[in-house]
């Protein structure tokens, strides 16, 4: 047991890397999804085609495949020697942005036409309409699927272990191998569960915030 505990700091270091991948991916892919969503909805056909193609490819192929592809592509095509961690982040951002784009697009398309008409009738620009009228209203609807993706992302970080990035999964694996004991798997499971639990808590708070303008029982 003490031996297993001896590996805990190592696993916690791995957890920090896991959290790094998670946070970097989320912080970069959440905003990147928006122009893709708007592009997909664009009336300019070539732009909408490109955005849809992007989503099609990144959503339709395995994350692992994309990761390995970029891992070899950067050194071969551009002579860039990227660290494994950078490859992981680039791949995850591109992959998750595709999912978020589709979530945004669904949210935007769910807003009633009347909102656009009212905005137009008041003389709002397209930009003002999107930023101040449409997007704030999509928040409540897109939050649950975004949280869902974020939870999937926590677990997807484990795929980075295949590129020799020492995140929680990789650290756990080496602990199990060295100890020939399965307990580290349980520790890892608990750490993942804590992460997803925290996410669920944050999501609950956000959901409450974004439903603040819903009907309250006043009349």
């Amino acid at each position: 047991m003490d031996k297993v505990l001896g590996f805990l700091p190592f696993m916690l270091e791995g957890s920090v890397v896991t959290i790094e991948i998670f946070v970097l991916t989320l912080v970069l892919s959440l905003p990147l999804g928006l122009p893709v969503a708007l592009g997909s909805n664009s009336r300019f056909k070539p732009l909408s085609f490109l955005c849809k193609l992007y989503v099609f490819v990144f959503r339709g192929t395995p994350l692992l495949l994309q990761m390995w592809f970029f891992y070899f592509l950067f050194p071969m095509a551009f002579d860039w020697k990227l660290q494994a961690m950078s490859v992981v982040v680039v791949t995850y951002v591109l992959n998750y942005a595709a999912y978020f784009a589709e979530i945004y697009r669904g949210g935007i398309n769910s807003i009633d036409r009347g909102q656009y008409e009212a905005a137009h009738a008041l003389g709002l620009s397209k930009r003002q309409t999107m930023i101040d009228i449409i997007l704030p209203q999509t928040m409540k609807a897109i939050l649950p699927p975004i949280v869902n993706e974020a939870i999937v992302l926590v677990k997807d970080t484990a795929l980075a272990s295949s590129l020799a990035v020492i995140e929680l999964m990789k650290a756990t694996n080496s602990a199990v191998n060295r100890l020939t004991d399965l307990t580290p798997f349980f520790y890892a499971a608990i750490i993942y569960l804590i992460m997803t639990f925290v996410l669920t808590l944050v999501a609950g708070k956000l959901e409450k915030f974004f439903s603040r303008y819903d009907a309250k029982e006043e009349w």
Binding site: D112, G114, Q115, E117, A118, H120, A121, L122, G123, L124, S125, Q128, D132, I133, P136, Q137, Y213, D214, A215, K216, E218, W219
Partner: protein, 232 residues
């Protein structure tokens, strides 16, 4: 174009694919005039109204406006994530770049005018349909448009609460706000409008003073329409 003219439409045609929604409408109105457009569903009334403020483009014809328009919709279309006050102040501040405090003061006056000062900080989801429509009227007026367009403003409301909206519109009429009202409220058209236009199949079939149109309809179609409204 007369100095007093605020809107002139010349030979307006609007097609949706093969369907001709508006088929050659000529129409003009003067400042302070109140026009009611009546007619059966699908007659092109709403389409015509939407052509005026550019919500939809015309297929052919010419529209000349001397100022801004404001519009009130059948389904209110308030911004649900903004309080009633914010709904009213948003456009003057963000679009016309007016001073926030000045706009707020005007908004409060408008809220008073529609009888909803106490709802300033309430979200639209918390008020009734009639109240929503009154806020929507205040929102449109806050932009100080030269011409107000009403697209069936009471059609989505329960009959017993249409009165509160119609009363606000009567107030506007008394203060000589120029307006076009697409409506099924024949009583309102008769009482408030200076001119009534009857549309059917995308054309103006008859127009004139309310008395003339309602008491002495000339065309078969208007006679049929009016009797169908009486039965309803």
């Amino acid at each position: 174009m007369n100095r007093e003219t605020v809107l002139e439409m010349k030979n307006i045609v609007k097609d949706y694919g093969d369907f001709r929604a508006v088929n050659g409408v000529n129409f003009s109105m003067k400042k302070g005039e109140i026009v009611a457009i009546i007619g059966p569903s699908g007659s092109g009334k709403s389409t015509l109204l939407r052509c005026i403020n550019g919500l939809i483009g015309v297929t052919s014809g010419e529209i000349i406006l001397t100022g801004d328009t404001g519009m009130v919709f059948q389904h209110f279309n308030l911004f649900p994530h903004m309080t009633c006050l914010e709904n009213i102040t948003y456009a003057p501040v963000k679009v016309k770049k007016e001073n926030k405090e000045v706009v707020k003061e005007r908004a409060m006056q408008l809220l008073k005018m529609v009888g909803l000062e106490d709802k300033a900080d309430v979200y639209p989801a918390q008020i009734s349909g009639g109240q929503k429509q009154r806020i929507a009227i205040a929102r449109a007026l806050a932009m100080e448009p030269e011409l107000m367009l009403f697209d069936e403003p009471t059609s989505a409301l329960d009959p017993e609460i249409t009165g509160e909206v119609l009363n606000v519109m009567k107030k506007l009429a008394e203060s000589h706000t120029t307006m076009i009202v697409v409506t099924h409220e024949m009583g309102f058209a008769k009482e408030v409008a200076d001119r009534v236009i009857f549309m059917d199949n995308g054309v103006i079939v008859e127009e004139g003073e309310p008395k003339e149109v309602f008491e002495n309809p000339k065309s078969e179609r208007l006679i049929a329409f009016l009797s169908s409204m009486l039965r309803a």
